[in-house]
Amino acid sequence: MTTRSSADGERRVRRTWHRPPFIANRALRYGLWLAVAGYLVWALGTLPFNWERIAEGVPRAARIFGGGFPPSFDRADLLFSGFKESLQIAILATLLGVMLSIPFAVMAARNLVPRPVYVVGRAVIIVSRSFHPVIVAILFVAAVGFGPLAGILTLTLYSIGFVGKLLAEEIEEIDWGQVEAMKATGAGYFATLVYAVFPQILPRQVGLSMYQLDSNLRASAVVGIVGAGGIGSTLMNAFGRYDYDFAFAILLVIIAVILVSEGVSGWMRKRIW
């Protein structure tokens, strides 16, 4: 500092600094805050909250929670069979979904297929991603009836959408040199796919499959509530019969299973990367 001060001595400027605001225009900046606050007040004022019903509900909620304690594991066999079904739904749907997602991902990768095929591939992925699994499950329950088949179909579709989209994006970012090298040997389209594309997306594919199994296990509990089999159905029945202690036991086990699956998949993904 001492050596340089002589040089900059003449034109000393105040060395303070503030981060420039994200929105430079002052009026716009404060106007935006005002608009957000105004909207909140308006929204809370106009939405139909029935305060009497809410007041009634609080003791009711307390009763449900009271009834849940202590959780009852008396019907462990029912709990077990429900979970077994959920697990089967999740695993089957993951396998089917991941396998089907590969061709759709290839179809939805701009760099590998002609334009019309790309449009079809993207369309399939967009459609299977646009609805929440619960809505899809309601449709499938209506189509194929109550039970695990509806759950499997729902989660398969869900997996195709999610894995397919991310895999397609991965394919679009592969190292094209390897594809060129395979083309240069005279390899056909599918041989090029198998040699130059799949090895490059393999780690991502495995990671996504692990994540999808995790996610399907969670979702299989939810779609069961609308009748697509598994532990969700068991949970719904328990609530319907006011067996709050049993329902609470189911919830605890769901949390435990999700925790375990999260731990296992996290550990496996770390090993693969």
Partner: protein, 273 residues
């Protein structure tokens, strides 16, 4: 015998990258193609195996017209054209042996390719070639575990597995250190004479071009402006090919010093002298 006549390649409506280029390569000579970045060297090589579509003109390899080929006929023609890449373009996650056998993808069917059931003759050829370049002991290693020079040798072996009638090398040494790149150039030179194979090498390093090839072709702005023996590639020819393009300031102002030069030099090509 490779015969290129009036080859034109134009990207969009820009100035053509190759302007009515004529080139004949007979016998099994090693030809260096030199020129500044953007002169069209890489485009020329890629037009030959149709990784780039020529706009017009004719390319004949041993009598077969390559420019008009489509589909299966193009793939069959590509089998006869081996290519070595600057970035090696190996399939990183596969073993060295799988990479080498990939050179046979134009000959085996999809089932054989996917299950890696290559004919015994191919496997023997692969081992023989790997032994020739002294990396047979790496056969089961993953390609990305090898050093740069070893990886390029795998790339060369993969190209030779095709039983090519011509070998194209697109800046095969640009990603390598000076010693390793000398080794690769020596290898290409001796393989060319052992297998009586014509070799076209795109190269930035003029010293290496002069040392390891029998003929130098100089490109500038898509036109051939030099074609002759390394001995005829004089300072004037060098200036004609590279002069005033890559480092305009230095190329013009730098005196033709014989002593070791000081100061900054053109950085985009290795060493033109």
């Amino acid at each position: 015998m490779l015969e290129i006549t009036k080859l034109v390649k134009r990207y969009g409506s820009d100035e053509p990258v190759l302007q009515e280029l004529d080139l004949r390569v007979a016998g099994h000579s090693v030809v260096a193609i030199v020129g500044a970045s953007g002169a069209g060297k890489s485009t020329l090589l890629r037009c030959i195996n149709r990784l780039v579509e020529p706009t017009s003109g004719s390319i004949k390899l041993n009598g077969t017209e390559l420019v008009t080929l489509k589909g299966a006929a193009l793939r069959r023609a590509r089998r006869k054209i081996g290519m070595v890449f600057q970035g090696f373009n190996l399939i990183d996650r596969l073993t060295v042996m799988e990479n080498v056998l990939a050179g046979r993808l134009g000959y085996v069917n999809l089932y054989q390719a996917v299950t890696r059931r290559y004919p015994q003759a191919d496997i023997e050829r692969a081992f023989a070639l790997l032994e020739r370049v002294e990396i047979a002991h790496y056969a089961n290693k993953r390609a990305d575990a090898l050093s740069g020079g070893e990886r390029q040798r795998v790339g060369v072996v993969r190209a030779l597995m095709q039983e090519p009638e011509i070998l194209l090398a697109d800046e095969p040494t640009a990603s390598l250190d000076p010693r390793t790149s000398e080794q690769i150039m020596r290898l290409l030179q001796s393989l060319a004479s052992e297998m009586s194979l014509p070799v076209l090498i795109n190269i930035h390093n003029v010293a290496q071009a002069k040392a390891y090839t029998e003929r130098i072709v100089g490109l500038r702005h898509g036109k051939m402006i030099f074609d002759g023996t390394p001995a005829a590639f004089t300072r004037e020819a060098l200036e004609a090919v590279y002069g005033g393009i890559e480092a305009p300031d230095e190329a013009v102002t730098e005196p033709p010093a014989a002593s070791p030069r000081k100061g900054p030099r053109g950085v985009t090509h290795d060493d033109p002298l």
